[in-house]
């Protein structure tokens, strides 16, 4: 149970692939112009991560150490191509709007990073959990950034939901406000970088807030240390 808690905390917050490890920035910044694009890419990445972690972990004792990286790369590439084929067949509109970024999942360092750092050293269940939590962490960052940019840039939310979820979902589309001139900066790549920077800053300030609270709780010990040493 504590393992579950630790992995969840690592994936979603402490070691979030988007905000802390800063891995997979290329798709993260490029496709987050709408929530639905972000959701599509996030789910695709989550699927690939889950599949690759499970497979890598289940064959970890049979893989010779010297050639583990090429084998991991092949496994990941296989999963990415499989996801690409399936998306092309079943969510054609979304596949077209995500374009090149589906095959680019293969270059998302978060995936090979988790295969190498976690799945190749741990049993299947924790590895699957790690993949799930890391993938969710990445997905959440994508979603927040996507929502931020879509609201600021186009004044809408869930535009194009029918591409991912089928025709019933077109009712999800919310037009929050209507304007003729879009806020271009939010839609274009610089907006993604600025939004990302703000999210990282927000996370760091929350972390600092909690850290400072802790110091206050153990205040006397901290003071004893300060007086105890000359510097």
């Amino acid at each position: 149970m504590s393992l579950f808690k630790e992995l969840t905390l690592q994936g979603l917050w402490k070691n979030n692939p988007g905000l802390v490890q800063l891995l997979g920035l290329c798709p993260l910044l490029a496709v987050t112009n709408t929530v639905i694009n972000a959701l599509g890419l996030g789910l695709a990445t989550l699927l690939v991560l889950l599949g690759s972690n499970i497979v890598v972990s289940s064959i970890r004792s049979h893989v010779p150490n010297e050639i583990r990286i090429p084998i991991f790369v092949m496994i990941i590439a296989t999963f990415v191509t499989a996801v690409q084929l399936l998306m092309n067949a079943f969510t054609f509109g979304l596949y077209q709007s995500l374009g090149i970024f589906i095959p680019l999942i293969v270059t998302n360092c978060a995936i090979i990073g988790r295969a190498e750092a976690f799945a190749s050293k741990n049993a299947v269940l924790p590895s699957a959990l790690d993949a799930l939590m890391m993938g969710l962490g990445f997905l959440l960052v994508l979603l927040v950034l996507g929502a931020l940019r879509e609201i600021l840039g186009q004044g809408s939310l869930f535009a194009g939901a029918d591409l991912l979820l089928g025709s019933w979902a077109s009712g999800l589309h919310l037009q929050l406000f209507q304007s003729d001139s879009h806020f271009l900066l939010a839609i274009l790549p610089p907006g993604a970088f600025i939004g990302m920077g703000l999210l990282i800053a927000l996370k760091n300030s929350i972390d600092q807030h909690y850290a400072s609270k802790k110091v206050v709780n153990k205040g006397d010990i901290a003071r004893a240390r300060v007086t105890g040493s000359p510097q």
Binding site: T78, L85, A89
Partner: protein
């Protein structure tokens, strides 16, 4: 040493073979579905520009590839021919406008043999969001203003944005994009009028792009 290397090589090859088998079978399984999806999306576009056509599948099959980079922009553009009662009613052409604000703008244009534009849509572009993307139907209805316009040489001076003395609205902050689209549609219409032999050219498109 050699033993270890060859063992590794065999292991690597084995993984590669497994991956290839998995992907190959998945490809075979999804291929018909993907081809159908592509055809459906193409049919949807065709019936957008020619709403009165019922037999869109027949229209899709009656297609010839044309190599006219100067007029249609790009090599091997598709030209669909819509015939009804043995009479040619319209051409539907793939047109590329090479002079967009950022890169090519891919269009599909339906034109009657006499040079009247029946409808046009943008398939693909990289114009600035919020400015140049008003050529899309989901952003503005500008592209509908082409329908019913005659693109004969006598009408040539109307084929420009209002700023240049023509009939078409420009967008605030973006004139290059509408100019590119207008010129591309006009070139396509003139091409159709100058080349009546298109109607009899052999059918040589593959059904799936």
């Amino acid at each position: 040493m050699i033993r270890m290397v060859s063992k590794n090589a065999i292991a690597l090859a084995l993984v590669a073979v497994i991956c290839v088998v998995i992907l190959g079978s998945l490809h075979l399984l999804t291929q018909p579905k993907i081809a159908e999806q592509r055809r459906l999306s193409q049919l949807a576009i065709l019936s957008e520009v020619l709403p009165e056509v019922q037999q869109t599948r027949a229209l899709l099959a009656n297609c010839t590839l044309v190599n006219a980079p100067d007029e249609l922009g790009g090599k091997a553009q598709r030209v669909y021919r819509w015939q009804e009662d043995d009479q040619l009613r319209a051409y539907v052409l793939d047109v590329t406008a090479p002079d967009g604000y950022s890169g090519n703008i891919e269009l599909i244009v339906a034109i009657s043999p006499t040079g009247t534009v029946l409808g046009t849509r943008v398939l693909n572009h990289q114009e600035t969001p919020g400015l140049g993307d008003k050529i899309e139907t989901r952003r503005s209805n500008w592209i509908y203003s082409f329908s019913g316009k005659a693109a004969t040489p006598a009408e040539a001076k109307h084929w420009a944005v209002k700023k240049d003395g023509g009939d078409f609205d420009q967008f605030t902050g973006a004139t290059i994009t509408p100019r590119a689209v207008i010129n591309a549609v006009y070139r396509a219409a003139s091409y159709v009028q100058q080349h009546p032999e298109l109607a009899r050219a052999a059918t040589n498109c593959e059904l799936t792009p």
